[in-house]
């Protein structure tokens, strides 16, 4: 299945792009997709801590994904 992964802030700069298309196997978890993103963009290994979201909501790393889901990699936030 196809999953869109949005990356922000320092993660975006490390990936060299704000949006990454990932082809994952059916039944893949968020963790599986993150692993694929890191394989495609090795520089992202430098990112020590981040949260993850699915379709705009914070989601745990073991959450199962569905085709068309919008995943986001969220480095430590610094708004305000």
């Amino acid at each position: 299945m196809e999953v869109k992964v949005l990356v922000f802030g320092r993660a975006r700069e490390l990936a060299g792009s704000g949006s990454i298309a990932v082809h994952a196997t059916d039944g893949a978890t968020l963790a599986d997709v993150i692993a694929l993103v890191k394989t495609q963009h090795p520089a992202m290994a430098q990112l020590s801590a981040f949260s993850t979201a699915i379709n705009g909501q914070y989601a745990a790393i073991d959450t199962l994904l569905s085709a068309g889901d919008e995943v986001a990699i969220i480095p430590p936030v610094s708004g305000g």
Binding site: Q57, A72, S78, G80
Partner: protein, 138 residues
């Protein structure tokens, strides 16, 4: 009533104050963030704010909804800027009206503290001789 905005246009203190004012309210607390001209002794030239727009709006709405439940409030406003901000400009305004000042202060403080922990917005500091993504200080 809740008013949440993520905007690339300058934020207006007066407009925010006008929105939360109410004949039912006795006290208003407003927190305004401003871009400081230095960080740890280094001169800041400007800040660049980036947001995961739809999630930032949704998380700001969650904060507003939560504080409306936890404290007796009249109106809650949370506005956040995006894009390039110069020193002295305003990244965030949180304005809260309440029947009594205690709730307004407590809820406003909670809202900005929570925003800085949960809302997917990132800022990069641009110095004369470099730049860095700001990371939260514990």
């Amino acid at each position: 009533m809740v008013n949440v905005l993520l905007s690339s246009e300058p934020l207006s203190i007066q407009a925010c104050a006008d929105w939360v004012m109410s004949p039912e309210a006795g006290g208003i607390d407003i927190f305004i963030g401003t871009v400081r001209n230095h960080t740890k002794g280094r001169a800041v030239v400007r800040l660049e704010f980036e947001a995961y727009d739809r999630m930032a709006i949704s998380e700001m709405n969650k904060i507003a909804a939560e504080i409306m439940v936890r404290w007796p409030l009249h109106k809650v406003l949370i506005h956040h800027r995006t894009g390039i901000l110069q020193v002295g400009e305003i990244p965030v305004i949180i304005a809260i009206s309440a029947p009594h000042r205690d709730a307004a202060f407590t809820a406003c403080r909670y809202a900005i503290d929570t925003l800085k922990q949960t809302v997917p917005i990132w800022k990069k500091e641009i110095f004369e001789d470099g730049e860095q993504w700001v990371t939260p200080t514990p």
